[in-house]
Symmetry: C2
């Protein structure tokens, strides 16, 4: 458990138990695959944000637990579907569902988890905002993934394209997590909108950091091989920057657009990107989002949780995994 | 358009327009893939059943159109995900999304359509039953597909296993279609429950017929190569029957469990199955479901639509595609 979560330890454990209960099914293959996913861990960032958000208004675990669980289910569903896409065989250092059970099972397990999340959401029939935000977010998440695939190896994409894509793919669900915990407890827009904007900004910083770590982390800490985006032709912020500012543009274009890269070629591309100052540039952009996130916190009541969320924002960029 | 739909022609056209409107997106790849799916056609059975069901109680197109559209979106999403599974490269005589765009895009297009359907459902916030039935149905559909994959090439499955699987995979959404059109218009359980049971029974007959047609139809009419289930190791009702009752059980087991079958081997297996009387047996089972469906219609008000639904039930077994 992350140290950040220390004051919601019991609540997060309750979410964990709920997740395990939900994926129990009569059919072994369903229980096995879903439990494998749960055991693979993850930061449980989305449930944690929902719980913290709820602290700003009449915190009620009964009201927020189903939402927190739903958010993790949607996230897990998107991870499994993502694995069908990127053909990566490990995630968080463990084999993916895809690697163990194949594309077809992964596709349906993802849908199974997603549909299970819909059942949980039906508990909030008196709060249509929750359903609206989550269904819209789910559409955008699928859209983000599709744009990512269809723009792979496309070296002409702009920073704006990139930011839109990671907003869809990552930031909106993190944003929804921070917002909807408070909504579930009955908070008004004076509370849940700043939380939403806070979530959006840390979500953007989170994904940019992810994309930086994919280039500079230690494989052991990242839990997957580095340079994965380059290998798959996913053009992230550091690459977009480097394509414009590096010394040997022609060589970088050659390496980035090559479909089957050798390890040496991946490493060469990584070196060119790093030398261009792209990592520092991307880190600055992430830091700007963190600053914006912290500004949003000022709109919220001054309770201890506000400080925790400020630390959580810093963690987005400081993490090494 | 099927002749059966003649008295809901305009309403079905409105659903068609709605479907086209919904899949329009700023991103070409999304619009292209979704429009491809729409153009590939299909029977639009689920929207039609929703419209017919609604005729039994204060029919109101405004109230039923979003539901009818949602049902087709869920169905389309499951077809695209299904294509990731079965590696079949054609459906309805046209290339599948998978064949044209690959597994990864298919997975996310399916999720995109599914999430879009969730947005439409939010129009029914005053009718929680719609949401409950559809989210539960979606869970069962994913479960049905997973069971199908995990039980492929397993010759020890029973008829009961098969019936449960096709209930999840197919019958529940058809059942929900017949039920929820009436629910959307405000009908009580005296109307929507018989409609649900009617839908369940024709849904079972529909899938059994599908599984029979996979063995005996003309490729031209079916729009995909016959013997597809055998090739993929999907053990359908005729095969389960034949495994018990055919003359050369040893040879059939050999053929059915062989992972890569030649065309000759598929044809040999088809011949053994046909000779065993399995087609007639399966057709009888389908007919029994049709009879049950018609019995349910007696519970409903005697309006002309009741006759149409009776004809629709007969069509489930009589169709050649």
């Amino acid at each position: 458990m992350l140290e950040l979560y220390i004051d919601i330890k019991d609540e997060l454990q309750a979410v964990e138990n709920e997740l395990r209960k939900i994926v129990q099914a009569k059919y072994q293959i369903l229980t096995e695959t879903s439990t494998h996913l749960l055991n693979a861990g993850g930061k449980r960032l989305r449930p944690a944000l929902a719980l913290y958000g709820a602290k700003f208004y009449n915190f009620d675990m009964e009201k927020v637990i189903h939402l927190a669980t739903t958010l993790e289910l949607i996230h897990m569903a998107s991870l499994v579907h993502d694995d069908v896409v990127d053909a990566s065989m490990t995630r968080r250092g463990k084999p993916t569902v895809k690697a163990m059970w194949g594309n077809s099972i992964s596709t349906h397990i993802g849908s199974f988890l997603f549909a299970k999340s819909a059942i949980l959401i039906s508990r909030y029939e008196d709060t249509p905002l929750i359903f609206e935000v989550l269904s819209d977010t789910s559409v955008q998440m699928a859209k983000g993934e599709i744009i990512q695939i269809s723009s792979s190896f496309d070296i002409n994409q702009s920073i704006k394209n990139y930011l839109y894509r990671i907003k869809c793919k990552t930031a909106l669900l993190i944003s929804a997590s921070a917002q909807l915990g408070a909504v579930a407890c009955g908070a008004g827009s004076d509370i849940h909108l700043p939380l939403r904007r806070y979530g959006y900004n840390i979500g953007m910083a989170f994904q940019i950091t992810d994309d930086i770590l994919d280039m500079i982390a230690e494989q052991r800490q990242l839990g997957k091989p580095i340079g994965g985006d380059l290998r798959q032709g996913i053009i992230t912020l550091p690459i977009i920057y480097a394509l414009k500012h590096c010394k040997d543009k022609k060589r970088l274009v050659e390496l980035v657009t090559k479909v089957d890269k050798s390890d040496d070629e991946v490493n060469e591309a990584l070196e060119i990107v790093k030398e261009s100052g792209a990592i520092e540039y991307s880190f600055d952009i992430a830091q700007k989002y963190i600053m914006k996130a912290k500004m949003e916190l000022k709109e919220l009541p001054d309770i201890p949780t506000r400080l925790t969320l400020g630390m959580a924002a810093d963690f987005m960029c400081a993490r090494k995994f």
